[in-house]
């Protein structure tokens, strides 16, 4: 997708009488680059270009009070000419695939009432004809307005959002923009269908009359009662959660906000640990944790040998242990090359030089055995190593989250005890009471769930005893087949989602790390960007160590964030253009040049708004000209209002002109 041209009428500084003001955004004749630069001083109307595009696409959804966008001078002029309304119009010419569309948004402002005449009108023109449903066109081609802030933004603002709520920003990007969220909804719907079929099967089986039908019916009723109770409890919890939020929602004091933020942090950490546990369960490594204990024995043996602390007895014990782990079929270890170790099968004939190596490794106390040979065995036992790494990874993540959680809980407790504000004290008391009520209900839910499971098992056993007619059996079989199909579909979708997500994350990590390295060129300190499965964002050194927040300046963080954005954007089919305000202002010398070079490799259109003198100089032009598609100079002409009103037909207050390097 490309934004080709923007046409404006009375939108913010873009005052016109009659003709629109035009800003070209893309030159289709230039194929080598997709970068457009808009250069202009602060307050000259660069950000208004971004806002105009957003308003054109989303109207009231972007800004409810769009009356504030109407050029104030245009209102004065209209009054002078005894006009009742002012037209504010933005036209965006865009290209999707090989088709051109014109999106038009029009708002009419009433001078007397100082309000809109009506809500904005949206038109999309294709091949000279308006499309019947322009809103569908926008919905199909652009994400929702909130997500557009990841495409059209001010570098500083988005960096702040990114720092404040990193996981949400990354989660939004990955889940919503690439459509993983839709996959989630599909999985949820499939589960609902499966439950529905489950119910249908049960209902059908329950209708069958035999000696056990009464008992079956009672058990089934019991299950249903429990389900109703669970639903009620869930609603009660939700109501109390809402009350909890409401306690602190209307304009909280900074102290209240701090307390509530701590609560939110606690809840998000609890949630994180629960998700981590679910991931741990899914990985099914527990059935192999015994191997890790055995590996501990082997590792410890090697350590003792290395430190020469072992007695002959212990040594022999260790050798036996190693032999037992190697298995009967093998008689020793054999270095094939420096870093490659082979197990020697019993009765293998080894000749010449290799035989010497085998003698070096003979498993005799006081002999020439190299302890690292045993260690290499452990290292080479990929199964043990893989399990160990996974387990350690889980343990580290769990411990970090748990430590943070305990700290947060203590801070919450302390805040509750030390606050001197009466209102906050009361709110905390109410909050605690609500949390107690929620916990009581959660415990109750667990109890009911457990009983429901028991009843379901009982029902299952009773069902197995039913003697059905052929017709009934075939009916149940049909339903069960359907259910099996849905279950498989759900499993496939779930698997696809996981593979899809891990594929995207790998893709982003690789691409954004490459970009970071190309721009910053300090690979020892800033070597890679890593997004975890829980969407945490890490910048790592060459040695794999994670950099802390205070070790990264804002410029490098901006580069990392942009690297992430562009890493992902290559994944998105639609290729929505990016419009970024002041991306270079925080960057270290040299990084600006390399950022533009890196951006010029992307196939997405990128429109950058730069401040002359700070982000763009005469010297910039020399190296920039080959990297860009086109550049615009946003100029402003100052007039005294009284002069302008009498001569307004021939003059514009603000004017955009084509860029001319000599004038600059």
């Amino acid at each position: 997708m490309k934004f080709l041209k923007l046409r404006l009428k009375n939108f913010k500084p873009y005052l016109t009488r009659g003709e629109f003001q035009e800003i070209p955004l893309f030159d289709t004749d230039v194929k080598s680059s997709y970068i457009t630069l808009n250069i202009g001083q602060t307050g000259f109307g660069k950000t208004s270009i971004s806002e105009a595009i957003m308003w054109c696409l989303f109207g009231e959804d972007f800004v409810a009070q769009w009356e504030d966008f109407v050029n104030s001078l245009s209102i004065q002029i209209a009054k002078e000419y005894k006009e009742e309304t002012v037209d504010m119009v933005v036209e965006l010419l865009l290209e999707i695939g090989h088709n051109s569309y014109k999106v038009i948004r029009q708002g009419i402002y009433c001078i007397d009432s100082k309000q809109r005449e009506k809500n904005t009108e949206l038109y999309v023109i294709y091949n000279g004809e308006p499309l019947p449903n322009p809103i569908i066109f926008i919905g199909k081609n652009f994400p929702v307005v909130k997500l557009m802030e990841y495409f059209i933004f001010d570098a500083d603002d988005i960096l702040k959002k990114f720092q404040d709520n990193q996981k949400k920003a990354i989660g939004d990007h990955i889940n919503k923009l690439v459509g993983v969220e839709k996959l989630d909804k599909i999985i949820e719907s499939l589960r609902d269908v499966s439950d529905l079929l489950d119910r249908e099967i049960f209902e059908m089986q329950n209708k069958i009359q035999d000696d056990l039908s009464e008992k079956r019916k009672n058990v089934w009723e019991d299950i249903k009662t429990k389900e109703i109770a669970l639903k009620e409890l869930k609603e009660e919890i939700e109501q109390r959660n809402k009350k909890k939020r409401k306690l602190f929602e209307p304009s909280p004091t900074p102290e209240e906000e701090e307390f509530y933020n701590l609560i939110k942090k606690r809840d998000s950490l609890t949630d994180k640990i629960e998700k981590l546990n679910a991931e741990f369960q899914e990985n099914k490594i527990t059935s192999n944790l015994d191997l890790l204990l055995l590996k501990q024995i082997l590792d410890s043996t090697v350590k003792k040998i290395n430190e020469k602390k072992t007695s002959k007895e212990e040594f022999e014990g260790s050798i036996k242990l190693i032999q037992s782990a190697l298995g009967e079929a093998y008689s020793g270890l054999f270095f094939k090359a420096e870093d490659e170790i082979n197990l020697i099968k019993k009765d293998t004939q080894i000749s010449g030089a290799s035989l010497e190596k085998v003698h070096e490794l003979n498993l005799e106390f006081g002999g020439e055995m190299k302890s690292d040979a045993i260690y290499t065995f452990c290292e080479h036992n990929t199964r043990m190593k893989e399990i160990e790494e996974k387990f350690e990874n889980f343990r580290t993540r769990y411990k970090e989250a748990k430590e943070e959680l305990l700290k947060t809980i203590n801070r919450i407790k302390l805040k509750g005890e030390t606050t001197k504000t009466k209102e906050l004290k009361e709110k905390i008391e109410k909050f605690k009471e609500l949390e107690n009520q929620i916990n009581i209900r959660k415990n109750r839910m667990e109890e009911i769930e457990e009983k429901k499971r028991e009843k379901k098992n009982e029902h299952k056993e009773l069902i197995e005893k039913i003697k059905m007619s052929e017709e009934q059996e075939s009916e149940v079989k049909k339903l069960k087949n359907k259910q099996e199909f849905v279950r498989r579909l759900s499993l496939i979708s779930d698997k696809a989602k996981k593979e899809f997500l891990s594929g995207i994350i790998n893709y982003i990590n690789t691409n954004s790390s490459n970009s970071l390295r190309n721009i910053v060129r300090d690979t020892k300190r800033f070597n890679s960007i890593e997004i975890d499965n829980d969407y945490s964002f890490k910048i790592k050194r060459e040695n794999g160590e994670e950099l802390k927040q205070n070790q990264i300046n804002r410029g490098t963080l901006t580069i990392s964030m942009l690297s992430f954005f562009f890493g992902l954007s290559q994944y998105l089919e639609k290729g929505i253009p990016y419009i970024i305000d002041n991306p270079l202002i925080r960057l270290d010398p040299g990084h600006d040049k390399r950022l533009i070079e890196e951006l010029s490799k992307h196939k997405n259109q990128i429109i950058l708004h730069l401040i002359p003198g700070k982000e763009y100089t005469k010297e910039s032009y020399n190296w920039l000209k080959s990297k860009i598609n086109m550049q615009n100079w946003i100029q402003r002409y100052e007039f005294m209002d009284k002069d302008l009103i009498s001569s307004v037909d021939s003059q514009d207050k603000y004017k955009f002109i084509e860029f001319n390097i000599d004038e600059f």
Partner: protein, 142 residues
Amino acid sequence: MPYEIFEGKKKVRKIRNTKDNNDFDIFKKRFGFSEEIDLASFCTAISFFKKYKGDHVEIFPPPSMMEMANMQSFKKAKLYDSLILHYLDIAEDRLVEFEKYFYSGFKFLRDWLERYGPNLNLEIELYSELWDFLMTEKKSDD
């Protein structure tokens, strides 16, 4: 004579006693094992590890046993058989020896859960705490 796992025994057994058996089921659920034999191996490995560390481990046969799984479903049978044969140097009744170590590990797990387990709800919590305990626990005579 061809090498035979656990001297050609066909079944692996578990403890018959009702209380032990109930506890075994509870542990299986709490630790998230899908197969009973996996929990039995885990208990056995705990005993091996504790013995290696020099902790006091009382190894004695369980009171009475009943069938748990057949040998084909015990995927690590060869490993444990080999460990008992070579590491423990026991050639005869190796499956009985396995049961002893399993029972001892099981008893350790029960004591540990009674003492440290009541507030540990999630699997990852349980394993993480148990691991720390096993790795850092001092010998009783230290």
